[in-house]
Homo-oligomer: 205 residues x 2
Amino acid sequence: MTTGKRVRKSAEERKFEIVTAALKLADKSGPDRVTTETLADAVGLTHAGLFRHFPRKISIWEAVAEYIGEQMEIRWARAERTNSDAPDTRLRELLLSQLRLIRTFPAIPALLFSRELQIENEQLRKDFGVLMKRFHERLKNSIQDAQAEKIFRADLSADDTAYLLISLIQGLTVRWSVSAHRFSLLKEGERLIDLQLHSLRLPRK
Amino acid sequence: MTTGKRVRKSAEERKFEIVTAALKLADKSGPDRVTTETLADAVGLTHAGLFRHFPRKISIWEAVAEYIGEQMEIRWARAERTNSDAPDTRLRELLLSQLRLIRTFPAIPALLFSRELQIENEQLRKDFGVLMKRFHERLKNSIQDAQAEKIFRADLSADDTAYLLISLIQGLTVRWSVSAHRFSLLKEGERLIDLQLHSLRLPRK
DNA sequence: CTATCATGTAAGTACTCACTCACTATATAC
DNA sequence: GTATATAGTGAGTGAGTACTTACATGATAG
């Protein structure tokens, strides 16, 4: 739907609008359903105008991935900064920050499996792989800290435990997507995270 | 690639060929990339011939989903039958059977997020939801049995624990897909499953 | 041996979509 | 105020793709 009169904006501003609109549309109708036409429409631009800002459609998704990556790093850093002393709550916050990001941009899980990422552009797939590796590293560090401080059991591999926690997030996210977001990602996530973290704690009796 | 001479086969046989070829192609190039053209080619049929067996493209995916559903139920039942006495190994086998199915048909995770399922056909999405619910039910039963037999701790919600285990499978599967199948799904899965199940056991000292 | 029907084909149609090109309007620098 | 660069438009094009139609052929029943 073309809404009223077209406005002229700076390239930087437009690019950002296009990126966020792409994320919004991807959530609404699936990443592969975002056509340059509907996307242009969503930002109040003609089809051709879009190509002034991005030479190819794929470069839009590249910008989207970059934006998501930045957002993740920002939120992880914030979660760690505000809980620098207690490794277990730091871990918990890291996990919750990821859930909050996905709640804000629910297209992220679908993007991981979209043909744009999986097939069309190997670089993008690798970039997401690197992101996940960084997240894993951060989780692992907090787990090891918690083990060192005798908060967590030391007999569990920090590496594998971090994978279990990532799986928790991803699995929950999958279920949330397949259920068409019919439950609260955050509430369900908190409960499962606490259950999982509980089983990691040293039994102090 | 059109391979040699065309053979005439029974409709039933062709339908099965089409379904399995669709799964194979979906793995190779993503579900949304499976065109009626390439699919017809893969089974050694013309484009038009495909439409003799399925009236619309979407009905092919419906048949695929049905096939996957059948396969899951068969494998779950087998896993339970051969481990009917020990609830913890039964649980383990249930989880591994799911991983084996995904290894056999690696397109399954991508299918969950394909536009065919998520957008085009709400029924299919619901069908998969029902399947996951059934799997959850089976896991939960084994967990409760193990709790009743004092193998697992009784202070953990069997319901949530089952969700944790499903998450483990789904998260692992996501990671496997994003990594372009660069590790052994079964080996990694066994390790993580055992780690998770370990934390559920009653500490018997 | 032949009629019949299920399985298959060749050649389209209609439509969607990424991308282009020649041109226009507007902000800003001087 | 005018030149210039930047943002935007209208009207295409070609490639891809689901689905159709009219016709062909091989298996099987009587």
